[in-house]
Symmetry: C2
Subunit: 205 residues, 2 copies
């Protein structure tokens, strides 16, 4: 079935062509300002064709948000060298925040926008495996901390959600312009200082 194989390849090619166009437009203009017609223009096809490769616009951005998780996972790789779980936990937060700083639009898509999560919600069978994997990764590190005597009297899951929330809160307030809209004494270092406050707390209990 060599012909079917080639057809399969060609179909895959156009699919990834759409994704590539969507990715580059998304990175320069954001989700809302990237239209189906923009993407179609870029790949020099008619807008209708996109709907033969993706159910709707949400599915395209769900695909892109998956790429974001691969990127984030890639950045997390270096954590393998950090033996002490508490040190690893703190390093993880730093990586998470620097990822958000370097790829604000991607972070927005992954953790703030409704697009990718809506797509999941409308397809009952699939679930948010990207998010669950990332959360599990964090939780297991928190568990290791508990195992060596840290965070006494705390529930792993609750504590993990709290830690995630803290870093997500800091970066999402910034990404959505609330941090910039507050008059801080040192606007450009407030995030780092706040994270320092956080790690200081993690160390002391």
């Amino acid at each position: 079935m060599g012909i079917n194989d080639r057809k399969e390849r060609e179909k895959e090619e156009l699919r990834s062509l759409i994704l590539a166009a969507a990715r580059s437009l998304f990175l320069e203009k954001g989700v809302e300002k990237t239209s189906i017609r923009n993407i179609a223009d870029k790949i020099e096809y008619s807008p209708g064709i996109i709907y033969h490769y993706f159910k709707d616009k949400n599915e395209i951005f769900h695909s892109l948000h998956q790429e974001g998780f691969l990127q984030l996972l890639g950045k997390m790789k270096v954590l393998g060298t950090v033996e002490n779980p508490l040190e690893r936990l703190k390093a993880m937060g730093k990586i998470y925040m620097s990822f958000a700083k370097e790829n604000p639009d991607m972070y927005d898509l992954m953790f703030i926008k409704e697009a990718p999560i809506d797509h999941i919600a409308h397809h009952k069978e699939e679930d948010w495996k990207e998010g669950n994997n990332t959360f599990s990764f964090l939780r297991s590190t928190v568990q290791e901390c508990i195992d060596i005597g840290n965070f006494k009297g705390h529930d792993v899951e609750a504590l993990t959600y709290m830690i995630w929330s803290t870093v997500h809160g800091m970066v999402s307030l910034r990404i959505r312009g609330r941090c910039e809209a507050i008059y801080f004494e040192n606007q450009d270092t407030i995030m780092e200082e706040a994270y320092l406050s956080f790690t200081k707390i993690l160390d002391s209990f």
Copy 2:
């Protein structure tokens, strides 16, 4: 100038009529799904008229987001009875979170959506006084905690931003569907448990 007075009143009336329509539509459908034409239909005027009372759609939702801050401020009133600043701080977080739970769309508008903050950014003269007031209120409570010996070695501003981030993170992950998309052992109590973990930490340092 009785006639001008009446005209002024009438103008104000239509303005608040627009806001009332926008408010009710926004509360039942959200920002994105509330269109200028929807609002115009509701007040039985033509869509164009709205632009004589508001610069654009963002300005309408900026007005509504101000109402949200008044609501939140109202809920915070009871804190006057809490003498101990640390207890007050913890109670504040509870109120903040219950406000978000009871008015998720309003919270979204106040702290997540770009609409109100975009409006501010596009009008260089004005700033986010609602947010700054709320932040100052929180900061002064944190300062009081420090004054009576809590949070040793921490910077007020950084710590305040961290605390805000933690509660904002918890509620915004839920509002934007990320909390629900994670498999927690007890999905419906994770927020409360996470906040409990947080207050336990606040108590212990």
